[in-house]
């Protein structure tokens, strides 16, 4: 059984604006095949960064969005029943280990804890993946690397990584870029002029400083890009902001009113 490696390649350069030296650091980690953990609030560019690095290194990228119903066999693979017997089907993690791809487990904490343990043997010096149901031990391809991401913002006590998992990774801490840089990103991503982008970023900042006062998360860069896209399409800026920035993030009337006021005060 062979898998088409090319389908996982990132062919076009994704736009990524480095904030500091994270590109060089990631390259160093990859050279030594160290597992990487990317932390940061939602929509700040974690996934984009991983995609960009896969493109830069020219390696295939297999992304798995984790959810709480995910079991270990969803990652590793399972036997399927067939009319005359059974057939083994590799899971995404196994595929990545076989073909030498970067395996990216997005929002890893969403997965149940017993699921996350299966990645342990792949993340230390062994770099192996035992398929106990199949009775096979896979030695990871030399190009294989494991990347996980998670958002420490909305963790509860119930949803945190185990220490034994955390301590297998090198870490990157992501945050929303500073205002000037974020404005540049929004402008470049959408082709919006920078003055309007700066105003959007300003509204984003208002929401971010309300975090913990009724907002779980501030307005993400992703939402700012949405708003800019709407404005670019000819939507009235105040409407676009309400639609893309305020309505998605909160149902709290007081916060909504404060943010609406901020929009009016900014786009006057």
């Amino acid at each position: 059984m062979s898998t088409d490696k090319e389908q996982y390649k990132v062919t076009q350069e994704p736009f990524y604006q480095p904030q500091r030296n994270e590109v060089a650091l990631y390259e160093a980690a990859y050279r030594n095949r160290l597992p990487v953990m990317v932390k940061g609030p939602t929509g700040c560019g974690k996934s984009r960064f991983v995609e960009y690095m896969a493109w830069k290194l020219g390696k295939p990228l297999i992304t798995v969005a984790c959810n709480e119903d995910m079991t270990a066999s969803d990652l590793v693979g399972r036997y399927l029943l067939e009319a005359n017997g059974t057939r083994w089907l590799d899971g995404p993690l196994t595929t990545a280990a076989r073909i030498g791809a970067i395996c990216y487990l997005d929002e890893i904490v969403e997965a149940r804890q017993d699921t996350t343990v299966v990645i342990h043997p792949l993340t230390d010096h062994r770099r192996t993946l035992p398929l106990d149901k199949k009775g096979e031990l896979i030695h990871a391809h030399p190009d294989f690397q494991l990347v996980i991401s998670y958002n420490p913002g909305y963790q509860t006590l119930m949803k945190d990584l185990k220490q034994s998992t955390k301590q297998r990774f090198t870490g990157f801490d992501f945050d929303y870029p500073d205002a000037a840089l974020e404005a540049q990103i929004v402008a470049k991503e959408t082709g919006m002029d920078e003055a309007v982008a700066a105003k959007l970023v300003k509204i984003g900042g208002v929401a971010r400083s309300l975090k913990g006062h009724g907002l779980d998360e501030g307005i993400s860069t992703r939402l700012l890009v949405y708003a800019a896209t709407l404005i670019k399409d000819g939507v009235e800026p105040t409407d676009a902001c309400r639609m893309a920035l305020v309505r998605p993030i909160t149902d709290d009337a007081d916060i909504r009113e404060t943010l609406d006021h901020a929009i009016d005060a900014t786009f006057a």
Binding site: V206, A207, S209, L210, H213, E257, H261, A265
Partner: protein
Amino acid sequence: MAAYWKQLDTRFPQVEEVFDDVMAEALAVLTREGIDAYLETARLIGKLGRGVEPMLAFMEEWPSAAKAVGESTLPAVMALIQRLQKSPNGKAITPFLQTLAPVARRLQSPEQLQHYLDITLDLKARTTGSIHGHHTTFPSPGLPAFFAQAPALLNQLTLAGLRNWVEYGIRNYRTHPERQTDYFSLQSADARAVLQRERHGTLLVDVERKLDLYLRGLWRDHDHLVPYSTAFDEIRKPVPYYDKLGIRLPDVYDDAGEISGLDRYRAALAHMVGHRRWSEAQVADNWSPFQRMAVEFFEDCRIETLLIREYPGLRKLFLARHPKPLEAACDPETTSCLRHRMAMLSRALLDSNHGYLDADLLDYVQRFHTVMAQGESSTKEIAALALSYVAKTRRQSDQFARVHFDDTVVDYRDDNRQLWKFIEAGDEEEAFDEPRKIEPAEEIRGLPPRHYPEWDYASQTYRPDWASVYEALHPRGNPADIDRLLAKHGALAKRLKKMLDLLKPQDKVRIRYQEEGSELDLDVAIRSLIDFKGGATPDPRINMSHRTDGRDIAVMLLLDLSESLNEKAAGSGQTILELSQEAVSLLAWAIEKLGDPFAIAGFHSNTRHDVRYLHIKGYGEHWNDEVKARLAAMEAGYSTRMGAAMRHAAHYLAARPADKKLMLILTDGKPSDVDAHDERLLIEDARQAVKELDQQGIFPYCISLDANLRPGADNYVGDIFGRQFTVIDRIERLPERLPQLFMALTK
């Protein structure tokens, strides 16, 4: 003039003194016929036999009142005066006339004035006392006080609000002359509370969270927002300010044109935030008051420019609230125009379409913008500019006592107290650092009261903070008494035990969609097989498992401890109190066995000022000797103010983290209290309290021991609790029925 004087037909010397002046005003305002009517009315008032006061008041007030609401209202006013004259309320005529002009200026239309007169008549009719059905012999105590307060009230209330406020006062204090006077002269606490409730405008308390979010979100700042009252300072209106203790804002802002009250708060906050960010305190000692004022105006404009740079939308807000003085409004020959000049400059600095032509002003606007174009500037730099402006435009007339104030007050700006620091504390020789004696405070006994509102069904409103609930631990008695009671009911306890075992948590909850589990989940398994046969990937999670689920009920038992419990129960040698004691002991024992969190409290009341709430068992306590001792000491006395006790009990029960919350109320009669004359009042209040409990997710259930209760005729328990009640006719069976009832409720 002489003809008019003759027409007036009076010999009061006081009237003669002012006659020329008031006539001059009347002639300027009133028509020919108006003058006649004016003099005729004044003549009549003079002949009422109430001395010179009413006549003087009328003659001085009417022209200005007529200007506001029109002459045509005079007959209506006169009619009211005659009604007052005919009733024992003649004394109220003078206060009525004295405040007529300010009231009229507020109301502005004849219809509105008519409404005001109607409210007044209603108040008069309903508060004028009649004792034992005799003639109306006692004047209304509240009426003169009401007239005195009317202008202040109308400043803050709409007529509808005024009607509600008056209505409240009449209903609650009709039978209490002193309190009635207190209420209508705005002395009593609830007069102010109701006033606050009826006010128009945006109240700070209602928007506090929004403003806090505004500060944090837009300005990355936060502080306590402390309201000050604008209602009671007529002469010197307080101005917003901030100090170490927080930001002070008025308790209410009315909407002003298209600017909402909330936006006015935002403008005031933004302005103060600007000061906190960019202003630096200056040494004030060497500057004159004029210089300081100029520095304040310039500095205010500097920070507002910076604020607008941050959020351009603020310009609209600031300009809408910034006065726009007319250039020619102030005459420098006769009046001190400094304030006027500064206000114009301030406007020009913020508003490029100011349209002023003064050369100095334009020059300084230009210089200000040049300075600001270079960056944030600083308080010091802008102060230098302000001083040179004062020097350049100084006039001799600035020293005049007559100061031009119109259109120079910017109401969202704070008083700038943080802008100044003084090197010398003051000019006084004496120091005021005498150690202040601290009076030893009265020793605190018990907890301070908690206040709860009470529902007034007649007006469908809450009376704010009406009942005071004092809570305390129940005194202790001998726990062995309770043990003895339990022993007496040994047989019953055994039967209860059997029922309890059936109630013990044993619910099983299925957990489905398990890849590994204790049993095969057939539904899912078949679905998977179908998927598989159809060629799709089957779901491997075809098993299920179980977990046992516990009860999660928090219980509050509220005992009515009113006087009537001391009565002997029919057909039994025991008092209701003793039977309740037995029943509660058994119930507590049973619930302890079940393990549900459980609290017991008793209540009784002696007027609304003293509702007592006694803890017998808390959620944290077990059914031990301590609790039994309190239960043993249970005593009955006073009355039953049920609503307040239920609200207070709900306060504790609502804080429990349980799924289901049950409040059992054990009572033997209808809610009543010595200060409630209307017996429906407390029943309706209790019914409202039940509604509140429902909203809080609490299930109230009443166990009534009222043997006289018959379905139909006077079923107040049903009125209060809907269908959530049981009446126990044979009280001697209470010890048996109560635990059974509880179990039936929670099965």
